[in-house]
């Protein structure tokens, strides 16, 4: 609070001067200027802590990450990394050649991660929308259900994943009990869910379970701003429920929707926690996403240069995406508001 005590002096003088520019105050002309100059330092003081952290933890490492892609960094020179030899584009040539196995793995992983993102975000949005629409009208138990639906989002990410790992894990787990024993879906077979091709689907399920409450939360917040009399008018005109949803609800949530889809896509594209807890440090081939792939290459095979080269490509792709993202989030001319 010492800050505010310091600040109140000149600012107070400034505002009295502005209110009462009497002829008996010769300094009235200079005070607003003084106030303006003092103010012009204040914003920088306010953003300074954030700027330092961003530089030290975000910008600096990002630049260093680009540098790593061009040097030969191994377990041996890790602690003395400033003296690691410069190797030019060698890491890119070794790792990202589409003819080589590593290169093929990289590009198919990018494709798989994109597909994964579309599936997870799509399902999460649909579930979130369903929950938001049906919980926006008032009925008994609404507040309780709303809280309950948010539980998977509030749980630590690894707890939800552990729960699903247990349900998927054994041949006799809860998932197989429901699908095989109750619904007789696979005949006599009891599929393994965390191995081979099934692992991809299992990971999608876990991610949707954790992510959909976020869509639900944001969409519900957006729906609160939709006035109910619009629906009443539409119903009187004979609009069906589906028409009301298409013509009123969807357009009303559109502003929030762009940001929501973008944020969810980013989180999902960058997903690391779920595969890490579900499969351990190395995922099955069919379920490897881009973040775990870079982790495996860097900390699994100690090939930091290769991991770095992959990171740089990812960085470029995300940078392009971020231009679109920022256009959506930040209104143009934010300087002049």
């Amino acid at each position: 609070m010492s800050h505010s005590a310091l600040d109140s002096g000149p600012a107070a003088a400034g505002s009295t001067a502005a209110l009462d520019p009497g002829p008996g105050q010769p300094e009235a002309g200079s005070t607003p200027q003084l106030r303006k100059r003092r103010r012009s330092f204040l914003p920088y003081g306010l953003i300074l802590p954030a700027a330092i952290l961003e530089l030290l933890i975000h910008i600096g490492p990002m630049l260093l990450g680009i540098w790593i892609a061009f040097i030969s960094l191994t377990q041996l020179n890790l602690t003395n990394w400033l003296n690691a030899p410069f190797v030019g584009l060698q890491n890119f040539i070794n790792g990202l050649n589409p003819e080589s196995t590593i290169g093929q793995a990289f590009f198919s992983t990018v494709g798989r991660t994109l597909g994964y993102t579309i599936l997870v975000v799509g399902f999460s949005w649909v579930l979130g929308m369903a929950g938001a629409v049906f919980l926006s009208s008032n009925f008994k138990g609404r507040a309780l259900l709303r809280t309950f639906f948010l539980v998977p989002y509030a749980l630590p990410a690894y707890v939800g994943t552990i729960a699903w790992a247990f349900m998927f894990n054994q041949r006799d787990g809860a998932v197989n009990q429901i699908l095989v024993d109750t619904f007789r879906l696979f005949g006599d077979e009891r599929p393994f869910w965390l191995l081979g091709e099934n692992s991809f689907g299992a990971m999608v399920v876990v991610n949707v379970w954790q992510l959909w409450p976020f869509a639900f939360l944001m969409l519900m917040a957006a729906l609160q701003n939709v006035p109910t009399d619009v629906y009443e008018a539409a119903a009187i005109d004979g609009a069906t429920l589906w028409q009301q949803f298409r013509r009123i609800t969807l357009p009303m949530v559109r502003p929030a929707n762009g940001v929501l889809l973008m944020v969810m896509s980013l989180w999902t594209f960058n997903q690391f926690n779920i595969p890490f807890v579900l499969f351990g440090a190395s995922s099955p081939n069919e379920a490897t996403l881009i973040s775990p792939l870079i982790y495996q290459n860097s900390f699994g095979s100690w090939n930091f240069g290769l991991g770095g080269a992959m990171s740089v490509l990812l960085l470029i792709a995300l940078f392009i995406a971020s231009v679109f993202y920022i256009r959506m989030v930040l209104p143009k001319g934010a300087d002049n508001d």
Binding site: P156, V159, V329
Partner: protein
């Protein structure tokens, strides 16, 4: 929407399906945490044959859970408090003050949110190594390293949400306070912060949840003494055996702090989101 009979029927069906979808994994966790180890393997028992509280007692001795708990609490609380403080100051500058470089600053903060943690992990490790070599300041395997990492990673979202929230507060409120002689900072602390409480709580909850569940940086930046819960829980699974009942009991215990906090403030969370982020 207008509540016709069809609407109500559809609502009941959809909400029942969603409730089951949320409830089944939670039920599996809680029911497994109350079973003796012998009932945990084999065909899953939806209705436990035998109920025991012993997993909840054993978890504290199988693994140094209390120690991990303490580590997680210290790191998460510090990171949340610092993140919220730093974000409030920066968000206020963005929402209310004009200055050169404002757009560049906002753009930088926002764009860093795009990039996955994995891109920062190794470089951050190297930078921390270098800082240790040069100054002796230990950032790996210490609370400090994880605290500043976590607080920075929650900053972009926090700044973005709070600046939206601050911008929605009428300017007249603080102008009145400044005329009364409080100055800008006085207006921020005495007028803006109390009004913005829902937004600040929403941001704090978000930061707390993110830091409490983080795995990636914790896996590289902690050692045995500073290990957090997210990694500590792994110890219930040994090479040969997984103590599923204890793992689930520990999961319940670990989830309680965030869950209780979340339920207490979730009203503020919806209010904070609807006037801050969604606009």
């Amino acid at each position: 929407m207008i509540e016709t009979r069809n609407f109500r029927i559809l609502r009941n069906i959809v909400l029942t399906v969603l409730s089951l979808w949320v409830a089944v994994p939670l039920y599996v966790v809680v029911s497994t945490s109350l079973k003796p180890l012998k009932d945990v393997s084999g065909l899953f028992q939806w209705i436990p044959h035998e109920i025991t509280a012993s997993p909840y007692l054993d978890i504290w001795t199988t693994v140094p859970l209390a120690k991990y708990f303490q580590n997680s609490l210290i790191i998460t609380i510090c990171a949340t408090a610092c993140s919220v403080t730093v974000a409030v100051l920066a968000a206020y500058a963005i929402a209310r003050l004009q200055f050169k470089g404002k757009r560049a600053f906002s753009l930088t903060v926002l764009s860093t949110q795009m990039f996955p943690g994995i891109l920062f992990l190794l470089p951050l490790y190297l930078i921390f190594t270098q800082i240790r070599n040069m100054t002796g300041l230990q950032l790996q395997g210490s609370y400090l390293g994880l605290i500043i990492t976590y607080m920075t990673f929650t900053l972009p979202f926090a700044i973005w949400m709070l600046s939206g929230y601050f911008a929605s507060i009428p300017k007249e409120l603080e102008e009145a306070s400044m005329i009364d002689g409080t100055g800008r900072m006085g207006a921020l602390f005495r007028v803006i912060l109390p009004v913005a409480k829902p937004g600040i709580i929403a941001v704090a909850v978000y930061s707390f949840i993110s830091a409490w569940g983080e795995v990636l940086f914790a896996s590289v930046l902690t050692n045995e003494a500073t290990k957090t819960l997210s990694l500590g829980l792994k110890a219930y699974a040994s090479e040969s055996d997984v103590f599923w009942n204890q793992l689930m009991a520990a999961s319940v215990v670990v989830s309680l702090p965030v869950l209780i906090g979340f339920i207490l403030v979730q009203k503020h969370l919806v209010a904070g989101l609807s006037s801050g982020a969604v606009k």
